[in-house]
Symmetry: C2
Subunit: 252 residues, 2 copies
C-alpha cells in the first residue's frame, strides 16, 4: 500500500485539486484508492460532494472513532475519509502526549487495508496536522505553482521533511515535485520550471498541469474533472500524471 | 489609528499581495503606514526585501522584545514588523495562559503609535496567529478569489469573526470583501462576483483587482508593484483601492 501526502505550506498551489483528481485518475485505471482529508477547510470532501458531519477525521484524531467506521465510498474504486471545520481545534486540544504526531499513522495501520494507494490532503501549514500526514506516509508529492512565493517556500518545506525523516519517519521520501496552475504564456512560469528542474532534476515530474478553468469549475458540482469535463486539458494532465506515477512505482 | 487585518483561511487568494501593495499605495498618498507580518511563511517580509533574522514578530510573541525594537523602515512613510519561519512554533509553544489571543493587541497598544494605518498579514488558517490579528484589529479586509473553494470558505471565516467579536474584540467589524486575481474572461469569476455582491451588497469593494502577472513578478525583486511596474493594471487597481478605502474612512 503506497501512502502519499500532498504537502506544501504555501496556500493555493493545487494540493487539493491534485489529491482529488490524481486519486480519481488512479481509480479509473483500476487501482483501489482511499483519500484522506486532513484539512479543516474540507475542500477535498466538498470537492467530491461528501459532507463530513456524520463521521469525520476529527472523530478519529479525538479517539472517538476508527477510520473504517467513517470511511465513505465515492465510486467502486475510490473511498474518502472526510473532514470537518472542527478539526481546526485539534492542534490546540491534543494533550502533550508524546505521540501526538503519530496518531494518524497508528489509525491507518489499524484499519486501512486492501488499498493500492492512500492519498492525504493537508492544510497550508507545517503544523501538527501536516506532521501527522508526513509521519503516516511513505512519500510526499509537492505541488509547486510557477510563481516566486511558491518556490521560496520550498526551503522550509524540505527542512521540515528532513526533520520528520530524522526524528519520526525514516522511510519518508519525496515522490516528486509537480508543476501546477502552469500558464505557458508567462515568462515567470518558465523561469520557475527551469529553476525547479535545475535543482531537483528527475525528482520533478515530467507531467505539468496547465491552468485550466474546468479544474476550478468542477468542485462546485462536487465532481472530479473526469466526470465534469473528461476531454479538458486538466483531465488529460492528471491522467498522464497517474500513468507516470504508476510507471515509476512499478519499477521499484 | 486604523488597524486592519487581511484574513482568509483559504490559501493563495491574495492576502499578502493586497497587504503589501495597499500599504504601499497608502504610503504614496501620504499616509504613515505600518505592516505587520504574522505569517511564518514571511512572504510579506520577503516581498518587501526585508529579512527578519535579526529581530522579528516571533521575538515579540515570545515576550523577548517589544515591537518598536524590531520595526524597520521600508520608505519614509512605510514601516514593517518582519516575520520568520520560527513563528510556526508559537501556536504549540505558548502556555495555556488565559490571554494568549491578546498578545499582539497588547504589544501594539504598548509601542505602536503615530501611524495612520496598521495592516496585518495573516497565514492561511484560523489558528492562534490569525486570532491574535483579529483581536488586535478594529476591522478586517477579506480578499476573495473568484473561485468556488474561496467562496465556500467564507462561511467559516464569518463564523470565526463573529465569535471573536462576541468573546474577544467587540469593536471588530468587516471593512470589506475584495475580489482578487480576477479574470474577466471566465464565467466562474463573474458568477462568484455576482454571488458576493448579492449577499454582501456594499460591503464588497467597488475596486476589483485583476489577474496581472506584474503582481506575481514584483515580489521576486523585493519590490511593490508600484516600484516594479507603476503603470500595470495591478498598480492602478491597488491605488484605486487605497482611494476607495480612504474615502470610506473619512466619511465615518
Ligand atoms: N490547474 C488548475 N487550473 C485552474 N485552476 C486550478 C488548477 N488547480 C487548482 N485550481 C484552482 O485554484 C485554486 C487553488 O487550488 P487548490 O484549492 O487545489 O490549492 P490548495 O493548495 O489545496 O489550497 P489550500 O492551500 O487553500 O489548501 C482552487 O480554486 C482550484 O479550483
Ligand atoms: N492580482 C494578481 N495577479 C496575478 N498574480 C497575483 C495576484 N495577486 C496575487 N498573485 C500571486 O498569486 C499567488 C498568491 O497570492 P498571495 O501569496 O498574495 O496569496 P495569500 O493569500 O497571501 O497566500 P497564502 O494563503 O499562502 O498566504 C502569489 O504567487 C502572488 O504573487
Ligand atoms: Mg487545499
Ligand atoms: Mg500570504
Amino acid at each position: 500500500m503506497k501512502i502519499y501526502s500532498l504537502a506544501n505550506q504555501k496556500g493555493g498551489v493545487g494540493k487539493t485539486t491534485t489529491c482529488l483528481n490524481l486519486a480519481m485518475a488512479l481509480s479509473k485505471i483500476g487501482k483501489r484508492v482511499c483519500v484522506v482529508d486532513c484539512d479543516p477547510q474540507s475542500n477535498l470532501s466538498s470537492g467530491l460532494g461528501v459532507n463530513g458531519s456524520s463521521g469525520n477525521i476529527y472523530d478519529v484524531f479525538s479517539q472517538r472513532k476508527e477510520l473504517d467506521e467513517i470511511i465513505r465510498e465515492v465510486n467502486h474504486n475510490l473511498f474518502i475519509v472526510p473532514s470537518t471545520f472542527d478539526l481546526v481545534g485539534f492542534e490546540t486540544e491534543v494533550k502533550e502526549e508524546e505521540k501526538k504526531e503519530k496518531i494518524l499513522k497508528e489509525k491507518i495501520i489499524k484499519t486501512i487495508k486492501n488499498f493500492d494507494y492512500v492519498l492525504i490532503d493537508t492544510p497550508p501549514s507545517l503544523g501538527l496536522l501536516t506532521l501527522n500526514a508526513l509521519v503516516a506516509s511513505n512519500s510526499v508529492i509537492i505541488p509547486v505553482q510557477g510563481e516566486y512565493y511558491s518556490l521560496e517556500g520550498l526551503t522550509q518545506l524540505l527542512k521540515t521533511i528532513k526533520k520528520v525523516k530524522e526524528l519520526l519517519n525514516p522511510s519518508l521520501r519525496i515522490r516528486g515535485f509537480l508543476l501546477t496552475l502552469f500558464d505557458r504564456r508567462l515568462r515567470l512560469a518558465h523561469a520557475v520550471e527551469a529553476e525547479l528542474r535545475r535543482v531537483f532534476k528527475d525528482k520533478v515530474f515530467k507531467t505539468v498541469v496547465p491552468r485550466s478553468v474546468r479544474l476550478a469549475e468542477a468542485p462546485s458540482f462536487g465532481k472530479s474533472v473526469f466526470d465534469y469535463a473528461p476531454n479538458s486539458k486538466g483531465a488529460l494532465a492528471y491522467m498522464e500524471l497517474a500513468k507516470e506515477i504508476l510507471k515509476g512505482d512499478e519499477k521499484k
